[in-house]
């Protein structure tokens, strides 16, 4: 697309949408959002960028190929499940580690395998959709 307005606007929009996608990912446990929605939004961000600047430029911006991102995401999700395995719980049992306290109420924040799993979902959705889009865009 050769519209200067779109190209210029896209750069701003992409950053906003991408940050918003991370926001949606992180707030997902309590409010509407999560890995699926976040991943879709992230994909939207990069698709806008690729419509404005072309898929080649977008691949450079991503640094890792979208297929790679998706595979890494699946690996992260699997690791999140394996953690519980090593703790002696059934596969994929959520693991919680409280920082500054010993329960949800008293702790300042938590480190947990559930969020790690959601990050995996985010990456798979992002990578999967982008690899599809690029395949279409580059198919000439």
């Amino acid at each position: 697309m050769n519209s200067i307005i779109f190209t210029a606007g896209a750069r701003l929009l992409v950053a906003l949408v991408f940050v918003f996608s991370l926001f949606m990912l992180l707030r997902g446990h309590h409010l509407p959002g999560g890995g699926f929605i976040g991943g879709l939004l992230g994909a939207v961000a990069f698709i806008i960028y690729s419509l404005a600047c072309g898929p080649e430029e977008t691949r450079r911006a991503l640094r890792v190929s979208p297929e790679g991102i998706a595979v890494i995401g699946l690996g992260i999700a699997l690791l999140a499940g394996l953690v519980s395995f090593f703790m002696g719980d059934p596969f994929f049992t959520g693991q919680w580690y409280w920082v500054g306290g010993d329960s949800y109420e008293t702790a300042a924040f938590s480190i947990n395998s559930v969020l790690v799993f959601d990050i995996g979902v985010y990456l798979v959705v992002l990578g999967g959709i982008l690899s599809l889009t690029f395949a279409f865009e580059e198919e000439t």
Partner: protein, 755 residues
């Protein structure tokens, strides 16, 4: 021969010496169990695997499995050492060593596994590794074809076996073979006949009984160490092992006795004639292996102590001499460049140690005292005389053993002491790693025969007890059992065998003439496979048209028909439309969706159609928002957005809609679309009509905070309560994306090729 090595190539490689050493260590490991097992105390190891399905990795070591385990590891170690030298310098030797080692472990699994499912898995693993080994010379189309033939036949039998195992396990309430055997005979119980046929299908294909025999001689396309190991001493005996293992549970019925006696005897006699007919010594040995398998099956038909003792003794002696002879043929082939019985002769001078080893193995095979082979034959006649069908079994055994005597002369005597032939190479003695196996195996055959009491007590009788399922009296394995009928039969065997050996050239001519006239099962196999491939091609062409519209039509038509049948069969009633409660918003959304649909139907532009579909999607998302499901609504909106973008990218490259083509199909399409729509509406209304079950909702509302520390129930379900499902879903997302990616890339690559 391409399989031959460079004699100067280094052979002490890690893969050769390493695998051989590990196998030898396993042999020693099993050796230490001999006293325990001989004392009548089976050993059991259990590792739970899928406890909820009663599948566990349980191993059971009794007399039968111990004898097999010792043969597998003992012969295995020597064969691996032999192969290291035999294939030294072969570019793919490491791969070969890996296959052979993997086979050894799978075979060990078969004979040790107690759980039937585990046994089946190991059973199929031996099939696969055998396939890889037969097809090792993969550049040769004949070798590939024979490997595939063995794979298809034995794997089909394996599937029947799986069905038999499942039936047996489910009807008996346990999948542990030791418990099934301990619970007593299945004869006369539910499913007995079916179980028997399925298990026999597995055993007979694996152990190459007539009419499934033809894959075994073809499997000799494998390098000689493989033939020695898999297709004589171990893998083909898996079928015999299975019959012995299930003997306490399945034997004793008329069906068992008749089927095993007849198939076994026919295989034994047919194979011994075929062995006489061959001129390639390796093929001769292949058929004598078939003869041995037939004999073993025939004796397992019986349930008397002598019949089982005969089977176990013959099993032991056959493994020893046959593996040795195969290895010797390999040495001869290596040294002279030929395996032709008509050419070979007078090798005694150049290859004295090989000649000695061959003589020892040949005497055991011929059943001359004091070798263990003689005892095996004596016990075999005693067993045959005790069997139900002795009138049939004894003459068949006599013919087979007499022919075996003659073949032993052809294989072990003639090449070394016969008249000198015109050899391709000047013969030389084999190197020690190759001689070790035949010498050790031959010595064992002699020592076991000289010490029948010890052999019987530590090896044969524990195995017999395991097969009988009850302690047996023993004391049958003797070098001198007195003047009796078996001895007389032995003497007749020798006389007849000697006569056949004298006349074997003339006999071979006759047999070749008969063979030329009889139907060839091996060729029929090719015809069968050809028809099978043609059938599947035709069938695929009929169903897979490659036209997307037809696929869509078929999918939705099947959906409509199955839903309709289910609704009618379940007696689903009418439903009531209650439109009174609808407000302005609901009407508005419905109109929006309807308008989008109409737009899709009427337009001739793909882009406009896409916009119409997008409108429908956004309408649906609005419904989710109206009924407060924000997570679903956001996802729906984003997916709609992405679908429009993706399709727009794809549509840019597609031609305009063809109006004529579209109208041609419009009537059936419309009927189907309306049917699917109406049915879906009906089903949804029926669902809504039911009182809503809030149990799950209440559970998640209560548990998502207390157990998973999250307030967004949808997300908590996705990432905590139902994580495994989500994991499956994202795996599908990844696979779908990769699949589409590859399809599009491949499309591009093929287009570039055209340019």
């Amino acid at each position: 021969m391409a399989e031959h090595s460079d004699p100067n190539a280094p052979w002490k490689t890690l893969s050769g010496i390493g695998t051989s050493a590990i196998t030898a260590a396993l042999f020693l490991f099993f050796l230490q169990y001999i006293p325990t097992i001989a004392a009548g105390e089976p050993v059991r190891w259990v590792i739970p695997w899928i406890p909820s399905l009663d599948v566990s990795l349980s191993f059971w070591l009794d007399g039968l499995s111990l004898m097999f385990a010792l043969l597998i590891t003992g012969i295995g170690a020597m064969v691996m050492l032999y192969a290291a030298k035999y294939l030294a310098g072969h570019p793919q030797y490491d791969r070969f060593a890996l296959y052979l080692f993997a086979f050894m472990l799978s075979m060990l699994g078969v004979v040790l596994a107690d759980n039937l499912i585990a046994l089946f898995v190991f059973w199929e693993l031996t099939t696969f590794t055998s396939y890889l080994l037969i097809g090792f010379s993969h550049a040769d189309p004949k070798s590939r074809r024979n490997a595939l033939q063995a794979l298809l036949l034995t794997a089909t039998g394996g599937l029947a076996l799986l069905a038999g195992f499942i039936l047996m396990g489910v009807s008996q309430g346990t999948f542990e073979m030791s418990q099934i055997n301990a619970a007593g005979s299945l004869v006369g119980k539910e499913f007995y006949t079916l179980i028997l046929f399925l298990v026999l299908a597995g055993a007979f294909t694996k152990s190459a009984q007539v009419p499934f025999h033809f894959w075994l001689p073809n499997a000799m396309a494998a390098p000689t160490p493989v033939s020695a190991y898999l297709h004589s001493a171990t893998m083909v005996k898996a079928g015999v092992y299975l019959l012995a293992r299930t003997h306490p549970a399945l034997s004793g019925s008329d069906l068992w006795i008749w089927i095993l006696s007849i198939f076994g005897a026919v295989t034994a006699v047919f194979a011994s004639f075929m062995a006489l007919r061959q001129t390639d010594l390796k093929q001769t040995l292949a058929y004598t292996t078939l003869m041995a398998l037939g004999t073993l099956v025939m004796f397992l038909a019986g349930s008397s102590g002598y019949a089982i003792t005969a089977a176990m003794t013959f099993l032991l002696v056959h493994s020893l001499y046959k593996a040795g002879l195969f290895l010797i043929i390999g040495i001869i082939d290596h040294a002279t460049g030929t395996r032709d019985a008509n050419v070979l002769g007078g090798l005694k001078k150049a290859m004295p140690i090989t000649a000695m080893a061959a003589a020892v193995a040949g005497l055991a095979m011929a059943g001359i005292p004091p070798f263990l082979g003689f005892i095996a034959k004596e016990v075999a006649y005693a067993g045959a005389l005790e069997m139900h069908l002795w009138l049939f079994v004894v003459p068949m055994a006599l013919i087979a053993f007499a022919l075996m005597f003659a073949v032993a002369g052809i294989v072990a005597y003639k090449p070394f002491y016969g008249p000198q032939g015109d050899l391709p190479h000047e013969p030389h003695e084999g190197p020690w790693p190759m001689l070790l196996g035949p010498v050790v195996l031959g010595t064992c055959g002699l020592l076991f025969g000289l010490m029948p009491g010890l052999t019987a007590f530590y090896l044969i009788e524990p195995a017999v007890n395991a097969v009988m399922g009850a302690p047996d009296t023993g004391g049958r394995v003797k070098l001198w059992a007195g003047f009796n009928l078996p001895l007389l039969l032995s003497l007749i065997t020798f006389a007849l065998g000697f006569l056949i050996y004298q006349k074997h050239l003339a006999l071979r001519e006759r047999l070749a003439q008969i063979e030329a006239k009889s139907p060839d099962l091996d060729a029929s196999w090719d015809v069968f496979l050809d028809w099978f491939v043609r059938f599947s091609k035709g069938q695929t062409g009929l169903i897979q048209t490659g036209v997307l519209r037809q696929y869509m039509f078929a999918t939705f038509a099947v959906f409509a028909v199955t839903v309709l049948i289910t609704l009618i069969a379940r007696g689903a009633g009418g439903v009531q439309f209650n439109l009174a409660g609808l407000g302005l918003m609901e009407w508005g959304i419905s109109l929006l969706i309807a308008a989008g649909t109409v737009l899709v139907l009427l337009t001739s532009s793909r882009i406009t159609a896409l916009v119409g579909l997008g409108t429908v999607g956004i309408g649906v998302a609005l419904i989710f928002i109206a009924y407060s499901a924000p997570d679903v609504a956001i996802t729906q909106l984003l997916v709609e957005l992405l679908v429009v973008v993706l399709l727009a990218l794809a549509l840019l490259k597609m031609p305009y809609l063809d109006k004529d083509n579209r109208q041609k199909h419009s009537f059936p399409n419309a009927v189907l679309a309306i049917a699917v729509g109406a049915l879906t509406t009906w089903v949804l209304l029926l669902v809504v009509d039911q009182p809503f079950d809030r149990r799950l909702t209440e559970f998640f509302e209560a548990a998502s905070w207390t157990q998973a520390f999250g307030r967004n129930i949808v997300n908590v379900i996705l990432v905590d309560f139902r994580t495994l499902d989500t994991f499956g879903e994202i795996a599908v997302v990844l696979i779908a994306a990769l699949g589409a990616f590859v399809l599009l890339k491949g499309f591009r690559a093929s287009k570039e090729e055209e340019k």
